[in-house]
């Protein structure tokens, strides 16, 4: 039997980036989502939207070309692709809420079987904030979540019902973790792929809600 090989952060980013199709407009959250920009499959023209008003973000510049007036929502220096444009915040969120984002890739603390997710507040802690996640998750045609399959204490992060404060209802399309790709469907969670060496039962064991396992489950191309 193959050794269990959980995906690295980069491998999760690469796997979710494989979902991005030609001509899509995509918003990336902080953390692993930001890494996805480096793994867009060749030949696909994906346009990245940053909620601070950039449409058409390009890759990170060299150190000499860093411009504090040209940074992503995560404060990372970026460049522009040809045909990029700027809008103010109200129009930038019009892009998101108005349904123009083909996809958003976001992090999460928890995802529920009905597509609810939580990513903005840890009860009792002062970390981060809501930022633009509610608008983006509401408006995007597809919401892809990247996160670890379980918390540091081993508790499942794919759950029946959220215990953390809700970000947006019924919006998650698929979840990408270090051990699995899980789709959110009207019937609940459906296992699509597992990381090398993991069986469906391995994933079921650390998932906090019923996980439908189809006859065929692929292996993540990591």
């Amino acid at each position: 039997m193959t050794q269990k090989s959980p995906l690295s952060r980069e491998q999760i980013a690469k796997r979710v980036a494989a979902e991005l199709q030609d001509d899509w407009l995509v918003n990336l959250g902080l953390g692993i989502p930001t890494l996805a920009v480096d793994y867009v499959p060749e030949g696909r023209d994906v346009i990245f939207h940053s909620e601070n008003g950039i449409i058409g973000m390009g890759p990170k510049p060299g150190d000499a070309d860093v411009d504090t007036d040209l940074m992503s929502a995560g404060k990372g220096p970026v460049t522009l692709i040809p045909g990029a444009s700027f809008v103010h915040h109200a129009d930038s969120f019009a892009v998101a809420r108005g349904g123009r984002l083909d996809a958003a890739i976001l992090g999460a603390y928890q995802v529920a079987a009905n597509g609810d997710f939580a990513n903005w507040r840890l009860p009792g802690k002062h970390v981060g904030g809501i930022g633009g996640a509610m608008d983006i998750a509401y408006g995007a045609q597809r919401v892809f979540i990247t996160m670890s399959h379980t918390g540091k204490d081993g508790s499942p992060k794919l759950v029946e019902t959220l215990t953390y404060p809700l970000t947006t209802r019924n919006c998650v399309t698929k979840v990408f973790t270090e051990i699995a790709v899980v789709a959110v469907t009207p019937d609940g969670f459906v296992l699509e792929e597992t990381a090398p060496g993991y069986t469906p039962d391995d994933v079921v064991a650390v998932t906090g809600a019923p996980l439908i396992v189809p006859d065929e489950v692929g292996e993540i191309a990591a």
Partner: protein, 232 residues
Amino acid sequence: MKNKKAETLDDALDRISDGDTVLVGGFGLSGIPEKLIDGVCDRGLRNLTVVNNSSGAGRIGVARMLERGCVGKVICSFPWGGASAVFKELYEAGKVDLEIVPQGILAERMRAAGAGLGGVLLPIGLGTEIAEGKAIHTVDGLEYLIEPALPGDIALVKAQKADPRGNLIYRLAARNMNPIMAMAAKYTIVEVDEDVALGTLAPENIMTPGVFVDRYLVTGRYRPETWEGAWS
């Protein structure tokens, strides 16, 4: 990159269907997608709900769509201009419906649609015929009409230049409602004087990002056969 440039008028318009709500740019004689309007007429579309500032003047703008029998309803702010003869005749014959929406409300209702809002709270129209049957909401002791978003199935937009991503700039006051309509419709079709190479438009000067544009057609600058009847 997706090719948003349409080669023919038919190609540009192939997504419009009978019964669609069509947002049509233009104010007075400025910024009207006249070639796209001709195309709609020639396709023999029927029962469209047309949103424009006026009901057309002379044979300018939506007046031709009315004349050719494409329109079931007009939503506008200025229906009875002296030059709106075509509309007046059809309306009085009971052949077309009318919803009058004050100009600023019209702009905000379409903007709301483009911004993914359900509607806006407007302080105007209170106590007037415009308020009849509408919900009122009070904020800090002041009353507002709740005006719902006004989305389009299709927008017909006039711009000056487009690049291959569909980024747009507008000429002078020909901007008018065009950028708002481009955002407010499910599918936006643009008529431009010219197209320019990618990277030609300064990113800071682009007025409508291409993400709001589905198709554009290069027509050159339009001049009507006649301005007759358009000025009164």
